[in-house]
């Protein structure tokens, strides 16, 4: 097991390095001169000064050399300076946005997992009932609706018409921090984020449960006189959960995509909003740092998913 973990971690790190090369090369191919970022608009530089600055920044070096220069600085935490927010160092800027995104994603996924597993199990147990059909139609609709449409509809219904929730931001400005205030702002975007993933988890859980409910060990449990509730929860659901764990792992990565749209509709001060604004302003140092942090996160989550899977499924032997 220890060897397996070490090998998978090494592969993950390699992927991260390769990812940084890919993004670095892509962004260097982009139009626009990186040196522009260093020019003060009120004090234009002469061509000679520009050439000197380019030389000093290493922009005349061959691409691989530039990459190693960047990577060496990045390892020591220096991702350069943001172009749009007046020369602020990139890393603290990006890290300050990690917290809000994690709060939003964690609560959205928690809702999705709890509701998805419960609805999927119920749907499978009461197969072909009105509730099963209703849940199936609802989940198909939730999967086909993109997050920006559900976000707008949710905002319109719950904030504008019903006035149940504030219409954006993470905290009320000018009011001292309180958990209640945070929760009031969090609940609507988290609920909307959970829709797609809850629906996916539900469909997966439903089909996995249907398969398990036909197994001999479920019949054996029933024959031994175990109460139906415990048959479902202990004997069927636990086994049905195995394939769903992989899906939950990949939903965490995908939820970042949905979070970007929700953050921009709800003005939630997270990574997504930062990244979208950086892309609009072509703020390459911020794009580079933010994508790498997201990439590292996704790689880590995939690794964890495999480990959890190995831990809970007795048939997977590793090491």
């Amino acid at each position: 097991m220890g060897f397996y973990v070490a090998r998978r971690t090494a592969v993950g790190l390699l992927m991260l390095v390769a990812l940084s090369v890919l993004i670095f090369v892509l962004l260097r191919l982009a139009p626009g001169d990186p040196v522009d970022a260093y020019i003060n608009p009120s004090a234009p530089l002469s061509l000679d000064e520009l050439a000197a600055l380019r030389e000093r920044l290493g922009l005349n070096d061959p691409l691989p050399l530039q990459y190693f220069g960047w990577a060496a600085a990045a390892i020591s935490g220096d991702f350069g300076y943001s172009i749009q927010s007046a020369g602020q160092p990139v890393l603290p800027l990006v890290l300050s946005r990690v917290g809000p995104t994690v709060i939003l994603m964690a609560s959205g996924l928690a809702i999705a997992i709890v509701v998805g597993l419960a609805a999927g199990t119920l749907s499978a147990v009461r197969r072909n009932s009105a509730m099963d059909v209703g849940l199936s139609v609802g989940s198909f609709l939730a999967i086909s609706s993109p997050p920006f449409v559900t976000a707008l509809v949710g905002l319109y219904v719950f904030s504008v018409q019903l006035r149940w929730a504030p219409s954006g931001g993470m905290l009320t400005p000018g009011v001292p921090f309180s958990v209640a205030d945070l929760l009031a702002h969090l609940i609507l975007p988290a609920f909307l984020l959970s829709l797609t993933h809850g629906a996916l988890i539900m469909r997966y859980m439903r089909s996995s449960m249907l398969e398990v409910l036909n197994q001999d060990y479920v019949r054996t449990a029933r024959a031994k006189g175990v109460r139906e509730f415990w048959v479902i929860v202990k004997h069927a659901a636990r086994n049905a959960l195995l394939p769903v764990v992989t899906l939950i792992g990949s939903s965490i990565g995908m939820a970042i995509g949905g979070a970007i749209f929700l953050e921009s509709v709800f003005n939630w001060p997270g990574m997504g909003l930062l990244l979208v604004n950086a892309v609009k302003a072509r703020d390459y140092p911020v794009i580079m740092c933010a994508t790498l942090i997201i990439g590292a996160f996704v790689i880590a989550v995939n690794l964890l998913t495999d480990l959890v899977y190995a831990a809970i499924d007795p048939r997977v032997k590793v090491g």
């Binding site: 892509l26 905002l155 319109y156 892309v279």
Partner: protein
């Protein structure tokens, strides 16, 4: 599961070819046919609207600004007096063009990469597949944003970004299918007789992965419509004044439009969901028609 749940399987005479049986299975699938009945009118409407709709998408009528739905403007008008129905139809046309062209490009890239990986040696295969792994590490939307920051806005950059994003999944599926095919006797024989890569790719590979390509292309059109709408919604895809469902939804980022002129964003939102739903039904129907054993739940 039992045979009874596979529509049209038992009653068809065995003498018909696989294609005819697939078509029979498809037409027996109610969800897929419903998708077709929704999708065909949408396609006809967006491609012919100049002929029957009196307003043009960029005509400004200053006498009817932010008007609700009426007899003259069925879906109302927007903040500079443009007809929402006309913009919806033109937006649909732009979305379809972007989706179809980008899917066509990613089909070519995906097929070529996948089949080259399958028919070439270990080294090429390993290299290509590691690259595919890498391209699939980042969540698609993040990769989309990185590419969009390089390409900029407009129809062609958007097409480029979406096609570059979409091919890796396809190339994996093609590779898996062709790795299996490579060991079949007729392919081994063909190679033994000195068949070149072009012959293997297009004479043997293509006909044997056509079902993968058709199903992928259908589902990917829905995906590409969503990606385009998402990019345009964030202001990174199709830029105004050109209409697209995404940038019409983008109008609702302004609180006034969201609260007071809901027809300006609800109709494009509904059109988007309806179209994607219809294409997904068709795609699922095609997949079941080609491979009745898959996806029985």
């Amino acid at each position: 599961m039992t045979d009874a749940t596979i529509p049209g399987k038992a009653k068809k005479p065995p003498s018909r070819g696989p294609m005819a049986r697939s078509i029979a299975r498809f037409t027996a699938n109610r969800a897929a046919m419903a998708g077709l009945f929704i999708f065909v009118p949408i396609i006809v409407a967006v491609s012919t609207y100049e002929l029957w709709w009196p307003h043009a998408p960029n005509d400004i009528d200053l006498l009817s600004i932010n008007q609700g739905p009426s007899a003259a403007h069925w879906l109302g008008s927007d903040g500079v007096g443009r007809d929402v129905m006309a913009r919806l139809l033109q937006g649909g046309r732009v979305s379809m063009i972007v989706a179809v062209v980008s899917v066509a490009i990613s089909l070519v890239i995906g097929y070529l990469v996948g089949s080259l990986a399958a028919f070439s040696g270990k080294l090429v295969d390993g290299g290509l597949m590691r690259f595919v792994d890498l391209a699939m590490t980042l969540p698609p939307v993040i990769f989309l944003l990185v590419l969009a920051s390089i390409a900029g806005t407009g129809i062609w950059p958007t097409i480029g970004v979406i096609s570059l994003l979409s091919w890796p999944v396809l190339s994996r599926m093609v590779r898996a299918r062709l790795l299996e095919l490579r060991e079949r006797d007729f392919v081994v024989a063909s190679r033994g007789m000195g068949a070149g890569m072009g012959h293997l790719l297009f004479r043997h590979g293509l006909p044997n992965s056509i079902d993968i390509l058709v199903v992928y292309a259908t589902l990917q059109v829905a995906n590409a419509i969503l990606l385009e709408a998402g990019l345009s919604f964030l202001g990174l895809g199709i830029a105004p004044p050109e209409a697209s469902w995404g940038n019409m939804l983008n109008l609702a980022r302004s609180t006034v439009v969201l609260e007071q002129y809901p027809w300006q964003w609800m109709f494009p939102g509904a059109a988007l969901v309806l179209t994607v739903l219809a294409i997904n039904f068709i795609g699922d129907g095609l997949r079941d028609a080609f491979d009745p054993r898959a996806n029985q739940n």
